[in-house]
């Protein structure tokens, strides 16, 4: 179903570009709480890096490396980080998502705790968005047969 495809120029260029795209994604993510950027945008850029790998390299190879279950776990992990931060505030005796109260466990003052709390939230969003974007792309290019192919290969 998937055509074999190899091109030295594209693959080399891709190898060269991907680290930069990923670094840029982390930059966008890390500045999310004080300037434009954030988890969603960072996650989209990170997913774009992976999509570039899929396009430049063999799709079957990419699918072997990105199993559906791994993506699923990343997606859930992001939500857990997000909701877990909120829950931590709740357990520390304040309202949901009141990051200021994280200063009780973090060695910082409430203002800084708010800052780190936001960063945690953005991290969760970044991971989930990245996983979801990659899995949407994989579902589309494999016409939704991603999982079936994996199972056939496993069998």
């Amino acid at each position: 179903m998937v055509r074999e495809f190899e091109d030295v120029i594209i693959q080399t260029l891709c190898r060269f570009l991907v680290p930069f795209i990923q670094t840029y994604s982390l930059y966008v993510f890390a500045h999310g709480h004080s300037s434009p950027g954030g988890g969603f945008q960072g996650g989209c850029v990170m997913a774009a890096a992976f999509v570039l790998i899929f396009i430049a390299y063999d799709l079957n190879e990419a699918k072997r490396r990105f199993r559906e279950k791994a993506l699923l776990i990343f997606c859930c992990l992001g939500v857990f980080i997000y909701a877990g931060t909120g829950w931590a505030c709740l357990l520390l005796g304040s309202n949901f998502l009141d990051y200021g109260f994280l200063s009780k466990v973090l060695p910082t003052d409430p203002v800084k705790a708010r800052y780190y709390g936001m960063a945690m939230i953005e991290l969760g969003v970044q991971i989930t968005v990245m996983a979801i974007m990659v899995s949407i792309f994989l579902d589309l290019v494999t016409r939704g047969e991603h999982e079936e192919i994996m199972e056939e290969e496993g069998a």
């Binding site: 909701a83 505030c89 309202n95």
Partner: protein
């Protein structure tokens, strides 16, 4: 201490547990349903706790992240919210228990964790819509609930995909119209908090932007609740969805959207606005009357039981909206509408459970093939008959109570046409339900004497919720008469400034 956190817990617990399900389900599939039930039990406890608090101390206001209301997102729980929250979590639990066996049959095994994830996300969205006090937050949660509903519908039988696609198109139009309306409100007031909008809007009532916003929101949510001319997505979506999903979206989801509409009409806009500036209530009344009759006529033409029940839902949405439309003309206020939100959920939940049980056990969906079913599945058919009788309006069932109060409201409003319409639609209901009952019990089975039929009943986990709801059809009717719920209805009416018509 923990009771102060109920408004957050009721949304966050099912959200976080819904993402546990795929991870745990990968390890052990049998744990999926228990997780759903744990999450919904937490919701149920929170909902009842909040109802108790509201009845004792009045409105609850919860600030997410301790941001003060007009700027931050606020969760507000008053009489109306608390009442709908209990309904939604109760029917979530009922649908989850009911889903146990038929999911194994209808859904490929490796998809079961995803199914339960979507199911729980749908309930999360519904609970979020009910609990939120922010107009834009309501849009986001409405979309969460709708997306999971699209996915759940698409899992179903042949034809479900196209039904799901139509649902997506119509649902997106509805949500976008709602968003546009909120945008207009934001332009003129600069606020998105419902309580704040209620204070800021009155001086602007005669501007065209506010009136346009109201119409946009009304039509958007009208699509979501399947009000008559906007109902086209609904029959196919209900028909082809998996059994548990039919039960869930016809009870929890539909009632949540009705709640959202009532909240917008009476809480963001006020009675003053809808009586003096945009006299929309007359139109709502007439549209509902048309819905009541047209839905019943469509239902009579149908021979597919689930589709017949779907059209019957359209008629019943008409009943609820008639209650909303008559609210300002009668001392009863919103009472008939509030009654029918609960009553219709109970009756339609029971009927859908029975209809899906016929498909599950006997593979029968066409009414004409139901011969001898009364002997084959006696308990299910008994539940079906109880709910059908309630729907028709046998005293002291819930259907009778609704119709009685609606007629009282219509007489108060001096709209005798509506009284006639209620009677006429009841007659039509008798026609379509009697046809089912007749074939089930009275029509002889071809080629046999009838005593050869063995009892072939559905599994207990499907039977118990159905029978429980069937009994509730009558118990709740008695509860309404005895005034158990009157603090809630009075609280809602007094908060919205209703029920004091000269």
């Amino acid at each position: 201490m923990i009771s102060e956190q109920f408004p957050a817990l009721i949304v966050v617990t099912p959200l976080i547990l819904s993402f546990f399900i795929p991870v745990v389900g990968w390890w052990r599939r049998s744990l999926c349903l228990p997780i759903v039930l744990v999450a919904l039990s937490v919701c149920m406890v929170s909902a009842i706790g909040m109802l108790d608090t509201v009845l004792k101390h009045g409105k609850i206001s919860y600030w997410l992240g301790m941001w003060e209301p007009p700027w931050g997102i606020e969760y507000v729980v008053d009489y109306l919210n608390a009442y709908v929250l209990v309904i939604v979590s109760f029917f979530g639990i009922a649908a989850a228990i009911y889903s146990k066996r038929n999911v194994e049959k209808e859904i490929p095994e490796h998809k079961i964790p995803q199914f339960y994830t979507l199911l729980l996300l749908n309930i999360t969205g519904c609970l979020g819509i009910v609990v939120t006090g922010d107009a834009f937050n309501l849009y986001v949660l409405l979309e969460i609930a709708s997306f999971s509903a699209y996915g759940l519908v698409a899992i179903g039988s042949e034809g479900a995909l196209v039904a799901s696609f139509r649902y997506i198109v119509m649902g997106t139009i509805g949500a976008c119209f709602y968003l546009l309306g909120v945008g207009y409100l934001y332009i003129v007031t600069g606020s998105l908090n419902m309580e704040n909008l209620r204070i800021l809007l009155p001086p602007l009532y005669d501007t065209r932007a506010v009136q346009t916003a109201f119409v946009f929101i009304l039509i958007g949510l009208g699509i979501k609740i399947a009000l008559f001319p906007l109902h086209t997505w609904q029959p196919n979506a209900y028909t082809y969805a998996p059994s548990a999903v039919s039960v869930l979206i016809s009870t929890a989801m539909a009632k949540t959207c009705v709640y959202a509409l009532i909240r917008i009409i009476f809480s963001v806009f006020t009675v003053d606005f809808i009586t003096r500036y945009v006299p929309i209530l007359d139109i709502i009344c007439w549209v509902s009357v048309v819905a009541m009759i047209a839905g019943s006529i469509f239902a009579i033409q149908e021979s597919n039981l689930k589709r017949m029940l779907a059209y019957s839902s359209i008629a019943n949405v008409g009943y609820i909206m008639l209650g909303v439309g008559l609210a300002t003309f009668t001392p009863l206020g919103l009472t008939p509408a509030l009654m029918h939100i609960l009553n219709h959920a109970v009756m339609k939940g029971c009927l859908f459970m029975a209809a899906c049980a016929f498909i599950y056990k006997a593979g029968l969906w066409d009414i004409r093939d139901f011969t001898g079913l009364g002997r084959r599945m006696p308990y299910t058919c008994f539940a079906f008959i109880l709910a059908a009788l309630a729907m028709i309006g046998m005293p002291p069932s819930v259907g009778f109570i609704t119709k009685w109060y609606l007629i009282l409201a219509a007489i108060d409003a001096k709209q005798y046409v509506f009284v006639a319409a209620i009677f006429f639609s009841t007659l039509l209901m008798i026609v379509y339900f009697w046809r089912v009952i007749e074939i089930m019990y009275l029509k002889p089975v071809e080629g046999s004497k009838g005593n050869e039929i063995k009892i072939d009943e559905e599994p207990v986990s499907m039977l118990i919720p159905g029978l429980a709801l069937a009994v509730l059809c009558f118990l709740i009717g008695i509860a309404w008469v005895s005034g158990v719920f009157s603090p809630i209805t009075e609280g809602v009416n007094s908060r919205f400034g209703l029920g004091i018509v000269p």
